[in-house]
Subunit: 343 residues, 2 copies
DNA sequence: ATAGCTTGCTTAAGCGTTTGAGCAAATTGC
DNA sequence: GCAATTTGCTCAAACGCTTAAGCAAGCTAT
């Protein structure tokens, strides 16, 4: 690549010192009492040479890169696509660029990405953490690196967090099924230690209890990621046939809903006549399903912008050693009513 | 954030010069004849202090950031999700980090992202360009910035490119429909100046001709992005009813296929009995459709790894002013046979 | 007339690295 | 026993930028 023009080049052209050019181009001409004529000449020359400041050099001096690292658990999730845009936009408004890293739900990769981003001097991080990432969060706290968790929180480690109230939404979803006359309600969730997923199961269970619905262990299916396809298939088969013969399934995530619905199609089940379905998350794929799928929708735009606002706030207040007040924000999911629950 | 430990800190601890520490930690201990004991002590101290080299400072010296910028037209496309992972992996293998930018199919944003990335000293770019981006490509060429276009190519500007042969795939898709007895074949495409989309229309048209199928202007619907939803709806309505009464629709992209199929569902059309459908691209959403959708699948992994390999090659050979040999590579799409074409 | 201020610039140091050159002490060769 | 070599380290400059401090003119006020 061709050499970029530097302050030195401009200074050379104009015949002044590098500092003067720096002052002018940073808008300190007035403050530094630079002559009007000189100011114009420098600006003009910079324009003519297509000067682009070297952000790397700037960062080295300022210890600020004006960059925010966004680490997502998996870039292909609908959640990610939904969140990225608002994060980028809000970051841009505040003068930050976002660089995205994908950790594929892998703890090692998460660790590496954090290191890479620190090494690249990001000013702050927004993280959709992978499982068991408590130690990483602790590490960031110890480093006093500004960061905000989204989507996934670790109850054992206090930190900034923007997300939703998983318990409440799961409770509401279950209750919604009940309200529509469904009584044998099953749930399919992941078998994971993720707090947000535990909360979803808990919401389901408490709603059953609140409405005095019968509960059997076999109604709450928790799927291993490692044997995902077969486990979902088995679950659907068992839930839809005697002795369980459920009349509704609550899917704890969009991915589970998609796989589950796919399996229901294969079993020629009609939704909602044979069995009702509700999904915790939204998915584009629902568009092609035989009927509109009732689901909750997370306020992804809000989560994104709020996360950036929180982060920017914290990056501004940076005083090493200052005691931190952590901020947890739970935003509202909205119910998108379809026809999959006998509405 | 707490101060990161620097070479100076280590040097201070050990009581040697910064240079010595640098030599040792970069593995030049042997070459620089550093004492065995000293070497160990420095390495040990670095470990103990959790030394992380400051990539910014390194970059400033080396003029290399070991970073590749990936600019995508839209992060939420299936194409993007599919390509990112292989790009990241192959880049990591070569010691590069990928930073992703999202230009939302917008030329101005593309321009800005290129500037941001240059300013951040990325060593190379991989770009899924937005429409009418010829000037940007020219600019990169003039700058001698290593870059590889993927997915979208500009015939008027020679450059590196990795993608597929859009004409051939579209030709094959149309031919495939013909082979399955379909005769009134429509196509839905975007009305855009994108060469890859023009090629898809051309492939369709030439296949019709090759098989002596009747063609009317109203069979090839080119949709404006601005009036996307209504245009697709109208197109589907008209194509599926007299006088056109098509027996097959070829969707030029996954997004068009999804919207199109959604509309077919609403019209209660059965696939493939009432009308056959084939899609140029794959989509996760197909999973929930009433029947498996026959479609072509781009070799996304190959495209990603090949793009990085090409880019890395070029970044290695960097000799300013050296005449460039541009590389264009067309990889093979595979046909995924479903049941949507009366198979 | 001259101390003191203002104007308009330059000098120099520093951010954290890398790296060629330099240099004292220890070792070798003859 | 002394020159030449080797060993083991340090010095200093540089990457492109920022910014406090400095300094020579010209100007003002008394």
């Amino acid at each position: 690549m061709k050499k970029n023009v530097s302050l030195k080049d401009i200074a050379g052209q104009v015949g002044v010192s590098v500092s003067l050019v720096s002052y002018v181009l940073n808008g300190h001409a007035k403050k530094m009492r630079v002559g009007e004529e000189m100011t114009q000449q420098i600006i003009e020359t910079a324009r003519k040479l297509h000067y682009q400041p070297n952000q790397i050099a700037k960062s080295l001096k300022s210890k600020k890169s004006q960059t925010i690292g966004l680490i997502v658990a998996e870039i292909k999730y609908g959640y990610t696509a939904g969140i990225v845009r608002s994060i980028e936009e809000e970051a841009a408004k505040n003068g930050y660029t976002v660089i995205i890293g994908n950790c594929h739900e892998d703890l090692r990769l998460l660790h590496e990405l954090i290191q890479v981003f620190i090494t690249r001097q990001v000013d702050g991080l927004i993280i959709v953490a992978s499982e068991k990432a408590e130690a990483e969060v602790q590490y960031l706290k110890k480093k006093e690196m500004p960061f905000v968790l989204i989507d996934r929180i670790f109850p054992s480690v206090e930190s900034n967090f923007i997300g939703i109230d998983n318990f409440q939404v799961a409770f509401n979803a279950t209750q919604y099924l009940h309200k529509h006359g469904l009584r044998r309600i099953a749930m399919i969730n992941y078998a994971s230690t993720f707090f947000h997923l535990r909360e979803r199961s808990r919401g389901y269970l408490e709603a059953l209890e609140a409405h005095k619905l019968r509960y059997k262990k076999s109604l709450l299916r928790e799927i291993q990621k490692s044997s995902y396809d077969t486990d979902v298939q088995t679950a659907i088969r068992e839930l839809t046939s005697p002795p369980l013969s459920c009349d509704a399934i609550f899917f704890a995530t969009d991915t589970l809903a998609i796989t589950g619905l796919k399996n229901l199609i294969e079993l020629k089940k009609r939704i909602p006549e044979d069995i009702a379905a509700i999904s915790f998350d939204e998915s584009e794929s629902f568009a092609l399903f035989q009927c509109p799928v009732t689901h909750y929708r997370q306020p992804l735009n809000d989560i994104g912008t709020t996360a950036i606002k929180t982060l920017v706030e914290e990056m501004k207040n940076e005083k090493p050693g200052k005691k931190q007040k952590w901020k947890q924000l739970y935003l509202e999911s909205t119910l998108v009513i379809g026809k999959s629950c006998r509405e």
